[in-house]
Symmetry: C2
Subunit: 455 residues, 2 copies
């Protein structure tokens, strides 16, 4: 049998057809391309033997769903991926056209190759081979291929609420979420949450002349800077009262995983052109995994053009996002920051705080979860060493949504790698990564079939 996705195979041909479709969810004109991508995937799902293949509506681009539920007594796995892609801009920087798959040096180049059409194809091909070989699957499988991941899964929550029953499962295995490194097996066991807000302060109806008013007029840029400065202490810790009250400290297993993780903060920052900073009472890995952040994403006010302008700015502000630790509620985090800003705003300024609706909680995969165990065992077999357990400091909305709405944990088993330029020109995926992905998905599914039911 040929290697998975080798040139000339039917699977490679199918993946290349999928990569040729510009299913750019952010593009308002992409409706027909999105439908075309769903049609191609639906055809493949039908060929594998999936049933109830349907587009589910959540208010935006539909998600494609399918199921195969003929393994009574076995767990039901929700297999997640997404068929939408990032816009290809800037086009001039692509070495080959973004919607024509092109193989170079063992890598397949195309928009979506790594994020997430390649990994989806690897998962589907693993299911297809199992079905062809045994006439069935080792576990019950529901497929969910989202169409809005690249626009922040903006309607996925509504879609899950509407189709909660249809999508119920025992756990989710995700074909999205890149591997940490190509050479080190790893598994994500948690994410931080996110909450956003911004504020503006106003000190006058319009900018004032610094000669005519300087000394008696308040300065909005100065007020905004003082408010921003007040949010952290000198040592880098967050100074917002009660902000850390709900933070859940790592348990013993999480502690052990963190202590075993070789985070090189100096090296990471050296590559980024800087040096590390942060609350020195905590180790860098703790600051990245278990501690919340309060980040100033932007600060603005007054004149920032060339030369100088003798103006007293009447308005200034800042944009803030927080990465939340396990236990923190996004709305409460925003409320605490808003209360801090109100308390610290001087009487000569008018403060307006805008909380961005929603937000996402941190997630924390129980380290004794049966699906995690299966994935770790398969990774250990494949790479002949135990995988690294890592948390990511970023946020994966789907993990939190699946936990909150469907009540299930998510384990990520992607065959893409963080260095494959997804979201950038010349996105690509290693062909060997695709092959490893097929093998891993097969192995995990077979392993789940051998285990006793987790329910």
């Amino acid at each position: 049998m040929s290697a998975p996705f080798e040139a000339g195979t039917p699977e490679r041909e199918r993946l290349e057809r999928l990569l040729a479709i510009p299913s750019i969810s952010a593009d308002p004109a992409s409706g027909p391309a999105m439908a075309q991508a769903r049609a191609l995937l639906a055809e493949w799902l039908a060929a594998i033997g999936f049933e109830r293949i349907e587009a589910l509506d959540g208010g935006g681009h539909p998600a494609l769903t399918a199921e195969w539920l003929h393994a009574p007594g076995r767990p039901t796995l929700l297999v997640y991926g997404h068929y939408d892609v990032q816009p290809p801009d800037p086009l001039a920087l692509w070495e080959s056209p973004p919607f024509v798959a092109s193989e170079r040096d063992g890598r397949l180049y195309a928009r979506g190759a790594s994020d997430d059409k390649g990994p989806v194809a690897a998962a589907l091909f693993a299911l297809e081979r199992l079905m062809a070989e045994t006439g069935g699957l080792p576990v019950n499988v529901k497929i969910l291929l989202e169409g809005e991941e690249e626009v922040g899964s903006r309607t996925l929550g509504a879609l899950l609420e509407r189709h909660r029953e249809r999508l119920s499962a025992d756990a989710c295995l995700s074909a999205d979420g890149a591997r940490w490194r190509a050479d080190t097996p790893s598994v994500n066991v948690g994410t931080r949450g996110i909450a956003a807000l911004d504020f503006t302060v106003r000190t006058a109806a319009k900018d004032l002349h610094s000669g005519r008013y300087g000394g008696i007029a308040p300065n909005a840029a100065q007020v905004a800077a003082r408010l921003v400065a007040s949010l952290h202490r000198e040592d880098g810790s967050i100074a917002v009262a009660a902000f850390h009250d709900d933070v859940i400290a790592p348990d013993a297993a999480e502690r052990a995983a963190a202590d075993a993780f070789p985070l090189d903060a100096e090296g990471l920052m050296r590559e980024a052109g800087g040096v590390p900073a942060g609350d020195a009472r905590f180790a860098p890995v703790d600051r990245l995994w278990f501690r919340p952040t309060l980040e100033i994403n932007g600060i603005f006010g007054g004149y920032s053009g060339p030369g100088s302008k003798t103006v007293i700015p009447a308005q200034a502000g800042a944009k803030i996002t927080m990465r939340l630790a396990p236990g923190q509620d996004p709305a409460r985090a925003r409320d605490l920051v808003e209360a801090h800003l109100i308390r610290h705003c001087p009487p000569h300024a008018t403060l307006a705080v805008h909380q961005e609706e929603g937000g996402v909680e941190a997630t924390r995969l129980p380290l004794d979860h049966w699906l995690l165990a299966a994935v770790e065992e398969s990774l250990a077999d494949e790479y002949a060493r135990p995988p690294v357990r890592l948390r990511i400091g970023a946020t994966l909305p789907i993990t939190a949504l699946f936990a909150r709405i469907l009540g299930i944990e998510t384990v990520m088993l992607s065959c893409s790698t963080a260095d494959e330029d997804f979201h950038a020109p010349n996105e690509h995926i290693r062909l060997c990564g695709l092959a490893e992905g097929v093998a891993l998905w097969r192995d995990v599914l077979q392993r789940l079939g051998r285990a006793s039911s987790p329910r």
Copy 2:
């Protein structure tokens, strides 16, 4: 005899011809218009009886000069004004064309009517009448009509250095600088100086992902905000070490003038849509007249567009101008702020400070100056009450330049008023203000002729 500048008089006709010339110094194509304005004024100066009428070159638009030095033993007065105007934009907001003088309700509308062609014409007309009536002038007069006042007098310093001898005088009487109010006689007895600098901090080579780096990466916007916040104390006072060391406190006469000045900070800020702020240890009038300011003109860094962006800004900064008190040197003020920024910049950020060259010192007219006395006496006679002595919190570069290069004091005797929309659409001047200007200039010149020589 008709009232000065009444419609149909030769002086009105001459002023209207001057106002018709778009002598916009900021416009690179204004060369011919600038020459046309100089030619018209040269013709007028010749008609009055001035001699050595010449354009003086300082590297930019030339200044027009002339002299009449036939009053031996009498002081020599440098009469200053400028013939360039602001651009007329936005044109759509003008009720009559900016370069066609239009009389409405006792006011003459045109770009430059108030700043500074009208006041220049009033001064020249006063000189013309005196010359016509007596065949001479009560004092020696040198005329200096600048062509770059509206672009910051950028080459006036060089021009004064080059033509120092030619322009030497005992004092300067300026036809520029608006009156405080139409109904209250006043005289400016000082200005604050100015110095400018800006800084940026860099914490990484590029903006970083707040999920992947949040907790270990420094945030440039946060660093910039802390630096800005460090420049002032909680009470609004400037926290830069040694910043106030050279500040000269007001003397008894200045103190008396300040105490007599009816500054309504609450009212002023109410009109501006805010409430006063500042170092409460000093009265508002002191904060505006005698104390320096350190103003954040702009602060910038990271993302300020719609929505949120989970970025850790790699670069941020602020623009700063200081209004300087008497005694402060612009370069030293900048150096002190730079030293403060260096001292307060954390080790995880790279600071770059850019000092804007030059700067202007504060000025302080000796309150027993003979020209001030003459102007105050004339104002007291004209309005039947003593004029208010006021300082302005803003900066007048010419006053500092005349003091530094020519070694002379400047007294402002303008007949424009601060509310006449100079630098804005529908600039105008009160015709009664022009008439008052002619009378005052005549009176001051005659008074100087009667006084004993100040030299």
